[in-house]
Amino acid sequence: MTVTETVQNPQAPARKRIAAAWGFILPAFAIYAAFVLLPMAISVYYSLLNWDGIGQASFAGLSNYWEVMTDSDLLQIIGNAFQLIIYFTAVPVVLGLLIASVIRNQMSGRFGTVTRTILFIPQVIPLVAAGIAWSWMYDFDGVVNQFLNLIGLESWTRGWLGDFDYALPAVGLIGTWVLLGLCLLLLVTGIAKIDPALYEAAKLDGATPWQEFRHVTLPSLRPEIGVCITVTIIQALSSFDVVYVSTGGGPGIETTVPGLEIYRLAFAHREVGLASALGVVLMILVLVCILPVQWLTREKS
């Protein structure tokens, strides 16, 4: 990003230009303030209250935050979101890196276009549709079990989304399905920008594919990896749609994520204060996870 000083123009005094700039910014700022900044502030305010959304509210101090950080159910729910990071972030990024470096020379021409198009479809459809498609895949009579039967693993078949041990990984893999294509294509684009001379040099030095990956591909892809991690962590921590339609958070609270719990606390259990406190905590958790990634992977300029 280039930041240059504004030019001093004798005909338009600085103050006038600044006033004009404010005029340009005002509409966007007003709507942003009204529907994001104000609710953010109200969220913090609500989080200090005991309120059922209807009757008289009473001041609760930090007790809602205390509950978020000590209640075993809420802790498990926050933990679920972090477990989703494995499937939303770690798997797509690692697999994406490996696949991208194997296919790096084959994404040109018509084959490349077809590949890009198909791998992008999960990005275009509503997540709700992905959730519905996969609940059917995971159904007891669905494709996953059909496949297991086909390869002789009958004993592994189960209703995946209703299983206490496998529901969360199953939901997580829906995220993998949605995000792998995006990560892969981001990484392939990044690899295309690497100077081919580096690969030639590695080849002349007799590097194995692994060494090539380790010393040429990986270091050059730092910014793209940063982008993948950032985007997917945000999706994991703030997931809602997929869980809402595929499991509704069950069985028990095995797949409940903070987004779903906020919705439930605020609109079903009428615990507005606690819901808001969880919202504030979620907002902070996302920032705490994202900022180090940004800091570690940004390009040195």
Binding site: T4, E5, T6, V7, N9, Q11, I18, A20, A21, W22, G23, F24, I25, A28, F29, I31, A33, A34, V36, L37, P39, I42, S43, Y46, V102, I103, Q106, T115, T117, I118, L119, F120, V124, L127, V128, A133, W136, M137, G142, V143, Q146, W177, L180, P209, T230, V231, L237, F240, D241, Y244, P258, G259, Y263, A266, F267, V272, G279, L282, M283, V286
Partner: protein, 274 residues
């Protein structure tokens, strides 16, 4: 001397496998959608007597026509306004780059990582206080605000990249900022505006949380939100549910296939900048 991993067929095989896994859920939905309504289909199997009529029935019982129209109205309310406001603010912010005033830009960027769920509770009470609950404005107005961080960030990045000489030349010709913006800057911003419009269209069309919380009537929701209601009502009729879901995801997929170059580049850039 060639390592086996360099064999092009390994890469090609991997890609084909990946494409198959990507398409599998859609095929599985299609095969279920063609089973007789009310029955319980089994996995991936082409039905002996495909019931294409399920699509027509799903279209009818879910009031799809109304739902699509509603989504279009919401998109029409959100996308053009959001783009214009973002262009204005992006341009304004690109002029306010000196030291102290940068905080204003940072305030916008602050919203980039905000999970919508974090403010959905106060939004509900705010929209209720405005008397807009159960109207399309309950979705349109909050989305305009929620899209501002990304949109403003996006357009500012564009305007910052425009050579300064251009703006100086315009000012020497006596154009004020307003004229410069419309006559010189906006025509140049077309590609960025296009990409932003595509992204905002997709996000709006696929928006789920806001309609579920703020609008009860499925015919006033976005298509994605309505799909949630459809699932609640018809979730036990797998063929009908699958047919309905396929209809609902068809418009964006068709648009995507037509404009795939623009979509892919918008989504890739969108990820990089977001």
């Amino acid at each position: 001397m060639n390592h086996w991993l360099r064999n092009p067929w390994i890469g090609r095989g991997l890609i084909v496998l990946l494409m198959a896994i990507t398409l599998l859920p859609f095929l599985s939905m299609l095969s279920a959608a063609l089973a007789p309504s009310g029955t319980y289909p089994v996995g991936l199997s082409w039905p002996s007597d495909p019931q294409w009529g399920n699509f027509a029935r799903a279209f009818e019982v879910a009031n799809m026509g109304q739902m699509m129209l509603s989504s279009l109205l919401i998109v029409a309310g959100v996308v053009p306004l959001a783009v214009i406001m973002a262009c204005l603010a992006g341009f304004g912010l690109s002029k306010l780059v000196t030291g102290r005033r940068k905080w204003l830009y940072l305030v916008f960027v602050l919203g980039l990582t905000l999970p919508f769920e974090s403010i959905i509770t106060p939004l509900y009470y705010e929209v209720r206080a405005l008397g807009l609950l159960n109207t399309r404005f309950a979705i349109i107005l909050p989305l305009l605000g929620l899209y501002m961080p990304f949109s403003v960030y996006w357009m500012r990045a564009h305007f910052i990249g425009v050579p300064k000489d251009l703006s100086e030349a315009a000012q020497l010709d006596g154009a004020d900022s307003w004229r410069e913006f419309w006559k010189i800057q906006m025509p140049l911003a077309r590609p960025s505006v296009m990409s932003l419009s595509i992204l905002l269209f997709l996000w709006t069309w696929n928006q789920f949380l806001l309609p579920v919380v703020l609008v009860q009537d499925p015919t006033k929701r976005t298509v994605a939100g309505a799909l949630g209601a459809f699932q609640g009502q018809w979730g036990t009729d797998v063929p009908l549910l699958c047919a309905g879901s396929l209809i609902i995801l068809a418009p964006t997929v068709i648009l995507f296939l037509i404009f795939q170059r623009q979509f892919v580049s918008a989504l890739l850039q969108g990820a990089v900048k977001g």
